[in-house]
């Protein structure tokens, strides 16, 4: 429907933009605690504060007590490692336990959250189909099918595709789209074009499934060198990522999309952010063009 607005532009003059005053006193004093944890990697908790929109000062919190509990028992404190990040290499999550975090900062309410690790689901196979279609601008895109089997303890999934950039020598998340029923079931449209996909097992519970998605050939590489990550999430992680996918900033200056804001999900008591476990499996795809 957005195109319809663009059409309307052709017949109606678009008007002007002006600065307006805003009241910045409406912001509550709250901590923002962020941590995605997985098996075998030490907890890394980011602690910051909620700031008013025009506030450009550093939000990181550097004088914080961060405690980790397993099944209600204190495992220890996480020391500050810089930029508001807290980690202890000896405190590593394992499957089967409920982990809790407790974050205390003078002047703020103590923030807490609990989550666990979901089951891991391995990738059973990858199918790649080159030049499966053409974008509006004439560049082609590929289709990739990822096969896996849904297992007990895994209900929520995510998928990412990373391409290797030879110039930057970094792995970059690529934008994707999909017409797969499991993806459109989440309300993810072709125009969202996100860097990750999320879905749940409602239409393939306990079954083997082959999820199809498309990735662009935007740079016209001679060969494909990418890694596909299949992740499983808990309820909290899934809802956080799902909201994040639809969470567009107000700075998104599109006069024809005055959208309905999508607040981020949080499972932090007395605060904001996310504390959620995930498991990951991956498969490398290398193909000459």
């Amino acid at each position: 429907m957005r195109q319809l607005y663009i059409l309307f532009l052709l017949v109606l003059p678009v008007s002007c933009i002006r600065e307006v005053e805003m009241d910045t006193d409406q912001i509550p004093k709250q901590l923002v605690v962020n941590c995605f944890f997985t098996e075998g990697q030490a907890f890394m908790v980011d602690v910051s504060r909620l700031a008013a929109y025009p506030d450009t000062t550093d939000r990181a919190q550097t004088n914080v007590t961060v405690k980790i509990f397993a099944d209600g028992n204190l495992l220890g404190q996480l020391p500050h490692t810089g930029n508001g990040l807290y980690s202890n290499k000896n405190i590593v999550p394992q499957r089967g336990k409920a982990y809790s975090v407790e974050v205390s900062v003078p002047g703020y309410p103590t923030a807490t959250a609990t989550d666990s690790l979901p089951a891991k689901v391995p990738i059973r196979g990858i199918e790649l189909r080159r030049n499966a279609g053409v974008y509006d601008d004439g560049l082609t895109y590929d289709e990739i099918a990822v096969a896996f089997k849904d297992t007990i303890g895994a209900n929520y999934y995510g998928l990412m595709n990373y391409d290797y950039g030879t110039y930057s020598q970094k792995w970059w998340p690529s934008h994707m789209f999909s017409s797969d029923p499991a993806i459109v079931a989440e309300g993810i449209s072709l125009s969202d074009y996100p860097e990750f996909l999320i879905f749940n097992d409602e239409i393939f519970t306990g079954q083997e499934y082959k999820l199809r998605f498309n990735v662009g050939d935007c740079c016209d590489y001679d060969y494909i060198n990418s890694i596909i990550y299949l992740e499983t999430y808990t309820y909290s992680g899934y809802h956080y990522k799902k909201r994040l996918l639809k969470h567009k900033p107000y700075t998104y200056q599109d006069p024809f999309e005055p959208y309905e804001p999508v607040p981020l999900y949080t499972n932090i008591q007395n605060g904001l952010g996310i504390f959620a476990g995930y498991m990951r499996s991956s498969r490398k795809v290398v193909t000459e063009n």
Partner: protein, 781 residues
């Protein structure tokens, strides 16, 4: 209590006539033969009189014997008198000539519109609407009603209608008695009703008579013209947006008449070639059309047949060809949505006092999103399709029984079969004859039966007038059953000096819910039925007020309180289109809402200068358990204050001037108030961590807690009408937003002047429609 109501209804519906001389007939335009709806027929010098119904029919008893004068009057027409000498029942038809205004004759008592029974009915003559200033030269019936108290139009420039805090889906919109689901074009900037094809336009905001049901907040009853019964007439009209052709005339030696009106958006004739040339291989075009037609046939004195068809679609198509995509490649994306409606009606005059009506209707609404891609050289084909549609098949029978002059009984029964496809997706791809995917998924087809029966007792006594009725509303979705008794009462107590106190109480249920994809600016609407787990919406409305006529003015003041329950809404972050699993899992249900307000309305509808001023004070809200943390929040179009003024001045025999000014306090929106760290995917050099916490997300305050700035604007319009050589030429010139008010359309944040080193983040307001002049031309011949 229930027994009492039933007994009361039955008792009132018994034989109530004590007189024996009955007068009946129709009131019509002498030039075209069109029935006149709401013409007042009364005994001169008395308050005894009736108004003609939607067929222009009246029936009433002579209150006393002896010579009397019967008068028929209608706004904009010369009144007509008929001497009644004998005491025999007889048919008297009135043919009125266009001419002087009603104010020049003496009417004792209040003119008997439905409002005298306490109904909150507003009617603006279509002729007056056509003279009002129009956006882009397109007179729009629904946009004109936004100048009435208690009605919000939604986003800037749109022809939306939010009545007394109700949603846009809560309006029952009837075209010749059949419901329509989608009534706008260009995403809401133009409504589907062509003013040249419409005869009458009534809006009920409360005190709903029992004949109406199925929506919670308002009833918009639109009657199409029947067509000129005397001569063939053609109309050609060209505006900035669309062109129209209409034709009406008699057939079957004057026994029948027809009207056909076709309107088409014509800018795509320019857009498509222009975009093709500009983008070399890419073309885009948008168009809409409306076809309104109605055929009326008077078979004999007692039987009249009607057949109406409305068809209208919006279509947006984008095409990509070889030059852009490469040799032998072609891609098409198209969106299509609209209504098809047909209605057959048989009106039979059983006796002068009993007039039954049988109606057969079919309504279809559908939304189709189709994307296709083809590469002929590689033999690759792909397509994605999303379809959502409703088919309604209806049968109903109504009757009017005109008892004594103080009593009118109305009743009816009906059934509708709903066949819905809330959303079906189909995805297909193949290469060199090999199919890679071919899947259909989505919400399965749903069927449901809706049935109703109603009775209205309109009692017009000296000290009180009321319409007491009830409606039995039933809905049978798959695996569910909903049966409701809806009491309807509206009443008025006449006081001195043409003043009345009014009060009404109504209960309504809505069996079809609308879900809008939350891309607020240009939402896509989908209709879904109540199901076994999603109950129908419910509203209860109580209103009290005062009406007064003085001279050429009507004044009304009304207080209302409306309670909404069992509302649905998307869960935060959910959308409808493309869903492969049950839509019922994506909605919040059992929502509630309240709406209350005060409406003041001063209307001058007679005399040389006409117009009105209105003010409304309103408050409406919504509550859902899992939205806004369960806290009550303001309704999206909650507007605390609204003031409107409309004036129409004939400058000469050929020139007419009109102006409209509106002021409204700001709508509530959800604004980002703060910033916070979020977890996002990031680039990496080793596979240790794909997640980063350095990105910034936004924090919103309570839902709809920020008020936009106030809205106001003035529109003016001139019409020039010239008749010569049997032709009528009309020029319409208008200016929208005369003083170029920059009204808020939406808000966003931006760094003030980063190119000059000023990185302060500030809030900006974007406006949409500035001053817009327009012109249109109409030729009637």
């Amino acid at each position: 209590m229930k027994r009492f109501i039933i007994l009361l209804l039955l008792g009132l519906s018994g034989y109530v006539s004590g007189q024996s001389t009955r007068l009946y007939g129709t009131a019509r335009d002498s030039e075209t033969g069109e029935p006149l709806i709401g013409a007042y027929i009364f005994i001169q010098g008395t308050t005894t009189g009736v108004a003609t119904n939607n067929s222009g029919y009246y029936s009433f008893m002579l209150p006393q014997e002896g010579p009397q004068t019967l008068v028929c009057s209608y706004i904009g027409y010369k009144p007509k008198n008929v001497k009644i000498a004998g005491n025999n029942s007889q048919a008297i038809d009135f043919l009125l000539e266009k001419g002087i205004e009603l104010g020049e004759i003496t009417v004792a008592g209040q003119i008997p519109t439905e409002n005298r029974f306490g109904t909150n009915l507003t009617e603006i003559p279509v002729a007056q609407i056509k003279k009002m200033p129009a956006l882009l030269g397109e007179p729009d019936l629904m946009r004109s009603y936004q100048f009435l108290p208690g009605i919000q139009g939604g986003t800037e420039g749109k022809a939306g209608m939010y009545v007394r805090g109700g949603g846009s889906d809560q309006n029952l919109i009837l075209l010749d008695g059949s419901p329509l689901y989608y009534v706008n074009h260009i995403g809401g900037f133009v409504s589907i009703f062509d003013p040249d094809a419409v005869k009458n336009f009534k809006l009920y905001k409360g005190g709903f008579p029992a004949r109406f049901g199925g929506r919670l907040s308002s009833v918009l009853d639109v009657q199409l013209n029947e067509g000129d019964q005397k001569k063939t007439q053609r109309t050609v009209s060209i505006g900035l947006l669309s062109g129209k052709y209409g034709q009406q005339g008699p057939f079957a030696r004057g026994k029948g008449s027809y009207i056909v009106s076709l309107r088409r958006f014509w800018l795509d004739f320019l857009m498509r070639p222009a975009s093709y040339l500009a983008f070399k291989g890419y073309s885009v075009g948008y168009n809409f059309y409306d076809l309104n037609s109605k055929f009326t046939y008077q078979a004999d004195e007692h039987n009249k047949l009607f057949f109406s068809i409305y068809a209208g679609d919006d279509k947006l198509t984008q095409k990509y060809k070889d030059k852009l995509l490469g040799p032998d490649n072609k891609s098409t994306q198209s969106l299509k949505w609209g209504n098809l409606l047909s209605a057959f009606r048989w009106n039979h005059t059983w006796s002068p006092a009993l007039v039954p009506d049988l109606k057969l209707t079919y309504t279809r609404y559908r939304f189709l999103d189709l994307d296709k891609y083809r590469d002929n050289s590689e033999d690759i084909r792909m397509s994605n399709q999303f379809l959502s549609r409703i088919n309604d098949f209806g049968l109903s029978a109504d009757f009017d029984y005109f008892g004594a002059n103080w009593y009118h009984l109305k009743g009816g029964v009906g059934t509708t079969f709903h066949l819905l496809d809330p959303g079906i997706n189909r995805s297909e791809s193949s290469e060199k004859g090999q199919t890679y995917s071919d899947t259909s998924f989505g919400n399965h087809s749903i069927t449901a039966w809706e049935q109703f029966a109603y009775l209205e007792n309109q009692v017009d006594l000296r000290r009180i007038r009321f319409n007491l009725g009830g409606r039995l509303a039933c809905f049978f979705p798959e695996g569910g059953k909903y049966i409701y008794a809806e009491p309807r009462l509206s009443a008025s107590v006449p006081l001195l000096n043409k003043t009345s106190l009014t009060a009404s109480y109504t209960e309504m249920h809505q069996f079809m819910h609308m879900l809008s994809n939350p891309t607020a600016g240009f939402s896509t609407d989908f209709w879904v039925p109540a199901t076994a787990s999603i109950p129908p919406g419910k509203s209860r409305q109580l209103a009290v007020g005062i009406d007064k006529q003085f001279g050429m003015f009507d004044f009304s003041a009304e207080l209302y309180y409306k309670k909404l329950s069992d509302l649905i809404s998307f869960k935060e972050g959910e959308v409808f289109q493309g869903n492969a699993v049950d839509w019922q899992k994506r909605v919040e249900k059992n929502g509630t809402g309240t709406s209350k307000g005060l409406e003041l309305f001063l209307n001058k509808k007679e005399g040389l200068i006409t117009g009105w001023i209105s003010y409304s004070l309103a408050k409406s809200d919504r509550t859902f358990r899992n939205i806004n943390f369960g806290e009550t929040y303001p309704f999206e179009y909650d507007r605390r204050h609204q003031f409107n003024a409309v004036i129409n001045i004939p400058l000469s025999d050929s020139w007419n001037f009109s102006a409209a000014w509106t002021y409204g306090s700001g709508y509530p929106i959800t604004l980002a108030l703060g910033k916070m760290n979020v977890i996002t995917n990031s680039e990496y050099t080793s596979s240790s961590n794909l997640y980063s916490t350095r990105e910034t997300g936004e924090y919103y305050g309570p839902k709809n807690s920020f008020r936009m700035k106030a809205y106001h604007r003035m529109d003016i319009g001139f019409t020039h009408t010239k008749k010569a050589y049997g032709k009528e030429r009309i020029w319409t010139i208008g200016i929208y937003n005369v003083y170029n008010r920059q009204n808020p359309f939406y808000y966003f944040y931006k760094e003030r002047k980063p190119w000059r080193g000023d990185h302060t983040t500030v809030l900006y307001q974007s406006s949409f429609l500035p001053i817009i002049p327009s012109v249109s031309y109409t030729l009637k011949f």
